[in-house]
Symmetry: C2
Subunit: 256 residues, 2 copies
């Protein structure tokens, strides 16, 4: 017969199960931790957890944090965070003894929210608070109007100047090669070694697997992947990882 203690434990577990649901994970904190109307630590803490990859796969911004995310982009914090990533990236890049010319030191960049910014699109679509719409996002991509993320353009130019071979690995498909190339050029990028897009063999693969496989091919070809820049953990983790990875901020969406 179960003891009163174990019944109590079960009830407590049930209560926790109801309280802590994945979507409502933000709501379990008592009000007393709100330190100011514009400085809600619950949303700061949500952002902390998604940026360090504690949240795992997440589908949408918690409703109480939608305004927080908008403010993150409008207040200059996004730019400031991107600049911080750029500064640490360059500090590392400069520390590498790069063999110029036919050297085999590689640096990998992701495209969306890394080299190019889709903020003009997301600004009109609730900064990731609305469900992802494949059709409208691809319409935006096919316009080829995404601007450079300024801090990444700086990193890109210096990394190139320092002699790294640049590989751009994107989750975009081969059908978007021409528009992506032209968009990158228009945004100020040039001189990459190779732009790698998802081919027919890569369809349905998780980004982590697809990107790891592409990195592994580079390693097989003799490249040393020194640095890797991406806004998603799936740009950076898996296998054949770079010596140093640089995580750009992105509180709008998650790609597994």
């Amino acid at each position: 017969m179960p003891s009163p203690t174990s019944i109590l434990s079960l009830l407590l577990l049930l209560l926790l199960t109801v309280t802590v649901s994945s979507a409502n994970v933000i709501r379990m904190y008592p009000k007393q931790h709100i330190v100011g109307p514009d400085d809600d630590p619950k949303c700061e803490s949500w952002k902390f957890s998604i940026e360090v990859n504690n949240a795992g796969s997440w589908n949408s911004i918690p409703r109480p944090c939608i305004e927080f995310v908008k403010d993150y982009f409008h207040s200059g914090r996004y730019l400031s965070d991107s600049r911080s990533v750029a500064a640490f990236s360059l500090t590392f890049a400069r520390s590498v003894k790069v063999a110029k010319g036919d050297g085999m030191d590689a640096w990998i960049f992701d495209v969306d929210e890394t080299l190019l910014s889709n903020l003009p699109y997301y600004e009109d679509n609730g900064f990731g608070s609305q469900p992802y719409n494949d059709t409208s996002f691809n319409e935006w991509v096919n316009k080829g109007l995404a601007p450079a993320l300024a801090a990444s353009l700086t990193v890109y130019k210096w990394v190139k100047k320092l002699g790294f071979k640049i590989f751009i690995i994107t989750g975009r498909g081969e059908s978007q090669r021409v528009v992506t190339e032209q968009n990158l050029i228009d945004a100020g990028y040039s001189g990459w070694e190779k732009l790698i897009l998802r081919g027919s063999d890569d369809e349905g693969k998780k980004a982590t697997v697809y990107k790891s496989e592409k990195r592994a091919e580079l390693v097989k070809q003799g490249y040393t992947i020194q640095g890797s820049s991406g806004d998603q953990w799936s740009d950076l983790i898996g296998f054949a990882i770079a010596k140093r990875s640089f995580k750009l901020p992105n509180p709008m969406y998650y790609i597994p």
Copy 2:
């Protein structure tokens, strides 16, 4: 003969080299990005970069951010961030079908700034803004008075109740086994499977290597490492990594 363009490039590179030094990486951002006296995005951005492991090995808090770090602990943001980590940890823990009893599902916890909080020590020692002092820190550890990090204690108790086997892997040495065990018990922890400390064979190893090796031994013994909780990336990355890792906040110090 070098062209005027390449001389200009060299001068620009030199300028960047002087401007962006690792310790002063915080200072390269223009003043206009400061949005309020108590909400300096440069320090927020520094914290972003160190928490996502962009900074690599860092030795001290940038001087302009010492007050920011103090405020992070005093304002309740540290507690809020720890609670967010706890919530995501529990959401994942509950999603695992754990075989109770003699099951082989493991969860790994680090000790310092994960299960136990050394804040009383760091409060008296500038929150990591002063150089690490081995003697005074060990004096503090040997008192065995570190309190539990409340959010981690909650996670620990639930993880145990859910049937995970708990392994505690710490960078503390075998000479601190007794005091560490007693401190953990006094802080409310019990029922772990094994407390693993650095032995004589582990001296001089980087934490990433030492902790990966210990995890690999568990995997070899048949355990599935489901979750891992730590405040340092060296608690979480390397090899034999957990299915899900949970990074707790720590803007005070970095362990490679």
